[in-house]
Amino acid sequence: MAWNRKLLRVNLTQGTCKEEPLNMEWANEYLGSRGLAAKYLVSEIDPKVDPLSPDNKLIMATGPLTGTMASTGGRYTVSCKGPLTGAIACSNSGGFFGAEMKFAGWDMIIFEGKSPKPVYLFIENDKAELRDASHLWGTSCWHTEEQIKADHQDPLIRVSSIGKAGENQVLFAVVINDLHRAAGRSGVGAVMGSKNLKAVAIRGTKGVSGVKDFPAFLKATQDAKKVLADNAVTGQGLPKFGTQVLMNVINEIGALPTRNHRDVQFEDAAKISAEAMHEKRPTDGKTHLITNAACFGCTIACGRISQIDKDHFTVKNSPQYWGASGGLEYEAAWALGAANGVGDLEALQYANLLCNEQGMDPITFGATVAAAMELYEMGILTKEQIGIESPFGSAAALAKFAEMAANGEGFGKEIGMGSARLCEKYGHPELSMSVKKQEFPAYDSRGIQGMGLAYATSNRGACHLRGYTVASEVLGIPVKTDPHVTDGKAELVKAFQDATAVFDAAGICVFTSFAWTLADVQPQLAAACGPEWTMEKLNEVGERIWNLERQFNNAAGFTAKDDNLPPRLTTEPAKTGPAKGLVNQLDKMLPEYYKVRGWTPDGVPTSETLARLGL
């Protein structure tokens, strides 16, 4: 078994750390990471709990392949009831922290209660203890990681932490590990902050034991790595250009949400694209991109490491930002750029650095700035209220908003609520480009119909990582489908959602799915966990995870009415490009989706479906 078979339960109220056996019956039904954490969460918290109260729990979980030699096996997840959405939250991160947790001998950490004072959890293999974090409170994720390593005189400690955003309970605060990898969506960092938990620092030296059939695992992982290496996307495209390569594609097909989804094409898309990151800047003759980077065990290495122009107005007097650091990835570049009409690559990287430094989700942050800019252009918000002129396209306003939100100052506090609450406050809830109060990522569903259904039904609010039909509808992976039609999209969305749940639960990166199917993952899992992990079982586990998450949300008070899109996307046709004249036809896809899922017309899993899945 590639599980360590034990979890750590940390009661922050009492200040205790206790070892428990992992529930292997549940592991057999939910695999690990996202799936297993969901099972624990659903079993231990009231779905109606206030997400920022001590009664919410926060779970950090690995999968059976985390820390192993399976490619991309460095993933871990942070799960809780999400404060941005009120739905189940599960945010996934790479880097090296997840593998270190596994090396220390733990599959999962469950945090409950609330510490009376700021603390961090320190784990050194079997030893786990809470330590005073008063000297870290009020500091950034970057400082926290550096300070903990210095305090322990050990540069090999891996750290996950929150910055000021998490402490201030910004509703889209993230948990940052390894300086610029993030468990990024739904505000899991705010829950960590609400518990006075500043960081988790781990040193593990045990490695991963218990792989069921090691020779078979060696072969399965090597075979699968060859598939990644031979594939043009995972072997060449992603390492060289990163996710940012999508900027020009999505703009060309007319699905790049621009200026708070007023438009679907951005005139400056080329300036903020992967290709632009490779071009020499006229100002200093250097390229923005320094190198690519890989997370633990990853043979793709899509990460971007960039260096900002030192003379740019955002950092001219701030040398702490002059070094090479993470970004820009596509989602951040879109949310900070096209979503606001800002075509200044350096300004986007500056805002991205602040998001990493103080722990904010750049998608929700950028999309909330977009909503604020629209309110400003409508005259609802004024310069006096905000502190700066904020029309679409203003790089200065973007930078100022990032500083204010990161530090919890002025109008930044209102940005910190996310777009749904901001727009509601100022009387225009329809201007929040979100589902279940979580903002859209970088694909306009008027030009990619299936993504509208994927967004509307995502269990954690609008998200591209719950069902990435862009792969099929735009990129032709595994087969090309027409992005403008609705036929067949219900089945497509369900297939992507269920398969993604398995990739997440296994502890590997969903980007492998550009080359792998579940048939490539299955031999690795069977060798690691046992031959009973067949394709049939994996398909069932994916569907079971999805339905369990849905049950939690239904019990939390969500209904079919929440499987919806903002009216802009269903009533205002795209103005330009190939999708000109189209709106998203969610009403055609949703009833079919419920049917395909085995749910009632009201979006509730039928008793037959629940029985079939053992729920």
């Binding site: 992603l238 390569v245 594609v249 080329a270 992976i477 090309k480």
Partner: protein
């Protein structure tokens, strides 16, 4: 007739060295096909994965038969993905 021709990602190198950005404007004969332009710029056929004309996807089987018209924008990518 004039058309816009764009190559992206690793295909950028197949554009003329005096290019600005990823787009060049081309003078082509009436009825020029996508395959002709792919060959003219020495783009390996298997690297021309995603082919769009005015943002609309053109399946591989239509590249030899699809005739371009004045003002068309032809854009080509190698296999790529992101998220």
């Amino acid at each position: 007739m004039k058309i816009g021709f764009k190559l992206f990602a690793s295909l950028t190198d197949y554009l003329p060295s005096d290019r600005k950005g990823n787009r060049v404007e081309l003078e082509v004969g009436e009825g020029a096909t996508i395959s002709e332009l792919i060959a003219r710029f020495n783009v390996p056929e298997r690297s021309a994965h995603l082919v769009l004309v005015n943002g609309h996807f053109v399946p591989p089987a239509q590249r030899t038969s699809r005739h371009l018209v004045e003002g068309d924008e032809l854009a080509i990518w190698p296999p790529i993905a992101g998220g």
